[in-house]
Amino acid sequence: MKNTLLSGLAGLLFGAGLLVAGMTRPDKVVAFLDVSGDWDPSLAFVMIGAIAVHFVAYRFVPKLGSPFLGGRFALPTRRDVDARLLLGAALFGIGWGIGGYCPGPALVSVVNGTSDALVFFGGLVAGMLAFNVTERAAAPAE
């Protein structure tokens, strides 16, 4: 229960941050990525602000030993760079550069109800479901 409440609070804060930062404005995102045009470097500062805070938080992980709400830290441990990682990132970047939404802002913007936001969100869900289908097809039978 506490975990659920905390996750809700984190989601709310995360969404507020995306909105304040300008990440829910696809024109601004594309103006950041389009370095050849009327370049708007603002969104680089989003990453700087986020990492400045979160980098410090990570320093407390070893000291704490376990999360405040109990259980264990469930953090990624892989360090290898493989083709799936790079291909996935490349495809994600292409979609981001065309549409101006990454997953967080796409979710936050759904409630605004514009046809652009809804169409992009529909594509996002379809892409994720398509991945689940191709993964299942590629996985050996159990």
Binding site: A10, P26, D34, F45, A50, G88, I94, C102, V108, G123
Partner: protein
């Protein structure tokens, strides 16, 4: 440079994002990777749904707050045909699942953790993102 340069609100918003990710990390021991959290709802596993729903619900609640009190947060004059937008969404959905993360999981969380996988991911999606934006805007006239 663009007249729409907003470094201070970008830094403040970024700090809020970092704070949100830190709440997840130190409170629940989890990475605040949005594509992973949301993707997990599309392939749900017993006992692993409530916190994901709550996080996504928080995101949506923030959106509702903006719709009511700060609709300019959604202002955009980007013009893309619906079919192109839908395809872009598919690429983002498929790509983030194949590559285990997006701007939040690999960007904010992975870089803060000094993960070489995340660094490789961020460099890759920034490069293809810039390339896609340039090509779509200038060579295809907004497609």
């Amino acid at each position: 440079m663009s007249a729409d340069f907003t470094p201070f609100s970008a830094l403040l918003g970024g700090a809020l994002i970092g704070l949100a990710a830190s709440v997840m990390l130190l409170g629940a021991g989890r990475v605040a990777g949005i594509s992973g959290i949301f993707g997990g709802l599309l392939a749900p596993r017993a006992g692993d749904v409530a916190w994901r729903l709550a996080f996504v619900g928080g995101l949506l609640a923030a959106g509702v707050g903006a719709v009511l009190f700060a609709p300019s947060a959604f202002a955009s004059d980007l013009v893309r045909p619906p079919l192109v937008l839908a395809l872009a969404g598919v690429l983002v959905g498929y790509g983030t699942q194949l590559g285990n993360g997006c701007t939040s999981g690999h960007g904010v969380c992975g870089l803060s953790r000094l993960s070489p996988r995340s660094l490789a991911s961020v460099v890759t999606f920034m490069l293809t993102g810039a390339l896609a934006a340039v090509v779509t805007n200038h060579l295809l006239g907004g497609a």
